[in-house]
Symmetry: C2
Subunit: 255 residues, 2 copies
DNA sequence: CTTACGACG
DNA sequence: CGTCGTAAG
């Protein structure tokens, strides 16, 4: 079995204070895709750097901002940081780790909640991401794009669909984009293993005790190639851990 | 008995979190001189504003910076904020409350630890303060200047006099300034009631567990007119409270 | 080490 | 509401 976890850490240093290494010890994923490191590599807490994992980080140029990483028990045979689009790469939003029989991406889509300009860049990111991801469906190896897409797909993925229909992260054009991603052949692994189940979220606002009241959004995904879905045996949102405002989303594959 | 306490709060909001109102309830000073409020009046926590004291604040123009205050059971018959020197008044460093038989000042001298420019301004503050204070010795009423002078007077007032002989706060010219203040007629009430006693400090760095190891400095004073010293019955540093990096310094007078 | 502000989410 | 950088102490 191969367990892949994805976590938006909202600051790897904060996540560390909140028990990141305890989570790793109890959950022991084989591969961990991280988003929002908000730290340079030298700022990653020592106990994390000392974990028995291979570690690769793709950090933002701007300090304390964004950044993705991939930790894995097995050493990747290839790592790629960025996709050749300057602003996306400068913000540390996309990286890849390639293994013998698998390609894994850690993805952190921009948030559009801070205003029109960032919302426009978010849509630009999505437009660039879609064909980029699609290419990998043609690859020899199974592929999975794990991360924080900052979009809820359907009403079932958000606690208050009506109130949020004009909120960035649940806009029609964003939701349609997720549908297009699935139409091109990707699988929303967590949803496919939990069809029709409601109240399953991966992010809760820190405000208004949202997590205790389970007023959340499902915005963290494992978007896999079809053959990988066939191998998926279990998908969980590890809600009991309070490592950040997101919960780890984990999938175990029969590999 | 009239009890006057002085406290550098290092943020009145932080001091509140650390039990400021509990301290007031247990210690119940009649007059409280505060320094380093680091808040505008509207930001002072409600439970403090609701205390059964008259409250007056003289805050800095710069947000989150400096600021002094005086709380008192009795209503002052006169309050003066600032001394007519623009930069000192903009930084909220000196205020007065006048009562029937007493004049009380809350004083927050600049720190010189951040560099030459601030050290120069600290010396300028001291040079302006000395004649200003001296005038009040001629007043009808007894007067006391309470606060954080950011200077240790003598070797007995600091845990490591040798190592700090070139450190701002224990420089020869600063120590001589305190001597001059005393020569003009002011009394260091706490020291006068604890002559020759060592290891009595009012401030400990937050670094290196300084307070548990009592590696401190005595930089908070009650500088009184001579007739007031005669009335002083007890002077204590309330070290058991961890309200900020300073301890409250309290003096009880037979008034 | 700790406070507070401002940017960002 | 929380994290981070920065200024200040």
């Amino acid at each position: 079995m191969l367990k892949i976890s994805s976590l938006n850490a909202n600051g790897i240093r904060a996540a560390h204070r909140h028990g990141f290494t305890d989570w790793i010890e109890e959950s022991h994923p084989d591969i961990i895709c991280l988003q929002e490191l908000r730290a340079m590599e030298h700022q990653v807490p020592d106990p994390i750097q000392e974990l028995d994992y291979h570690k690769a980080y793709h950090t933002a140029e701007k300090k304390g901002y964004s950044g993705v990483g991939i930790l894995s028990k097995e050493e990747p045979i290839n790592i790629e940081k960025g996709i050749g689009v300057a602003w996306i790469d400068q913000e540390g939003r996309i990286m890849m780790a390639e293994y013998e029989n698998l390609i894994v991406f850690s993805i952190y889509a921009p948030s559009g909640t801070t205003g029109d300009e960032r919302q426009k860049l978010k849509m630009e990111f999505l437009d660039i991401f879609l064909p980029f991801a699609q290419k990998y469906l043609a690859s020899e190896k199974p592929v999975v794009f794990c991360g924080d897409f900052n979009i809820c797909h359907k009403a079932i993925d958000i606690h208050n669909p009506k109130r949020n229909k004009n909120t960035s992260g649940f806009l029609p054009e964003e939701r349609e984009w997720v549908s297009r991603l699935l139409q091109t052949g990707f699988e929303d692994v967590y949803r496919r293993l939990h069809e029709g189940e409601s109240d399953l979220y991966s992010w809760w606002s820190y405000r208004a005790a949202s997590k205790e009241r389970n007023k959340g959004w499902r915005i963290d995904y494992h978007m896999s190639s079809p053959e990988l879905l066939e191998l998926a045996e279990e998908a969980t949102i590890e809600r009991a851990w309070d490592l950040s405002d997101h919960a780890p989303v984990s999938v175990s594959y029969a590999i």
